[in-house]
């Protein structure tokens, strides 16, 4: 599909827009519809679109396997450590109001990092699932 002109042009236009929109949805999840899940799925969809046009090998060079697997685990770890930070700073597990001197600002910080963790895990898992399915169809041993 790499040789199809229409797909290449449309991909060049759409894929950066999709990734940018995913970042926008992630960080504006506080003020409009959005949040971690939507952003993670959209980023994964953008990269899957790229891989449909240019092939799995090229995509694996850009987003290698070790990066995807690290993303899968890192998101859960970020989420859990936000909770632990709550304990270390004197509050309960996942208590955000102790994360900063002003409890409201602490809530903002907590929600920000938690959403980042969720988005990273969701994006990593969706990408990993796609990689596994797409690479399975090679030579059946």
């Amino acid at each position: 599909m790499r040789d199809d002109l229409v797909l290449r042009v449309v991909g060049r236009l759409l894929i950066p827009a999709i990734l940018l929109f995913a970042l926008y949805v992630q960080f504006h999840g506080d003020f409009g519809p959005g949040g971690g899940f939507q952003a993670g799925v959209m980023a994964a969809a953008g990269i899957v679109f790229y891989s449909l046009i240019h092939g799995l090998v090229t995509t694996r060079r850009i987003v290698p396997d070790w990066a995807v697997e690290t993303m899968v685990a890192a998101g859960v770890l970020i989420y859990a450590s936000v909770g632990l930070a709550g304990i270390l700073l004197g509050g309960h597990y996942l208590d955000y109001s102790v994360l900063s001197s002003d409890p409201i600002h602490g809530q903002h910080r907590g929600i920000f990092w938690v959403e980042v963790g969720v988005a990273v895990t969701v994006c990593g898992v969706m990408l990993k699932i796609y990689y596994m399915f797409a690479s399975r169809g090679g030579a059946e041993d």
Partner: protein, 124 residues
């Protein structure tokens, strides 16, 4: 009748998904039916939250009446868990296809029974 219209539609979609799961033997179609069933359950949860004249639950000084945000939260989790389930089911289907050579329920059961019969005959 009109007041329960959404419930009737939801029940129809739910039962249609149930019919696809039980009546069709193809594994991929069963999984699609399962995801249809789950989608109709989302409708079941979200439609009671809607207030006529309300708006999306994003606080803003221009609106006073908001639709109930609690079912939205529960269903967001449910959607992501649903796709995780679908992915695992599809992975199992792919492995079954590689092991049995078919994804029709009847053929797989027949293969299993014939293997059991062969083993029973060999051990006598």
């Amino acid at each position: 009748m009109l007041a329960h219209f959404t419930n009737v539609i939801t029940v129809f979609l739910m039962v249609a998904g149930l019919f696809i799961i039980t009546a069709r033997g193809n594994l991929i179609k069963k999984l699609v039916g399962l995801s249809l069933f789950q989608t109709s359950v989302y409708l079941l949860y979200i439609s009671p939250g809607k207030l006529i004249g309300g708006t999306a639950p994003i606080l803003s000084p221009a609106f006073t009446v908001y639709s109930n945000p609690l079912p939205h939260v529960l269903i967001l989790t449910a959607i992501v868990v649903g796709v995780a389930t679908l992915a695992l089911g599809l992975a199992l289907t792919v492995r079954i296809r590689e092991a049995y050579g078919s994804i029709e329920e009847d053929e797989i059961l027949a293969l299993d029974h014939s293997v059991e019969d062969d083993e029973a005959r060999e051990s006598h």
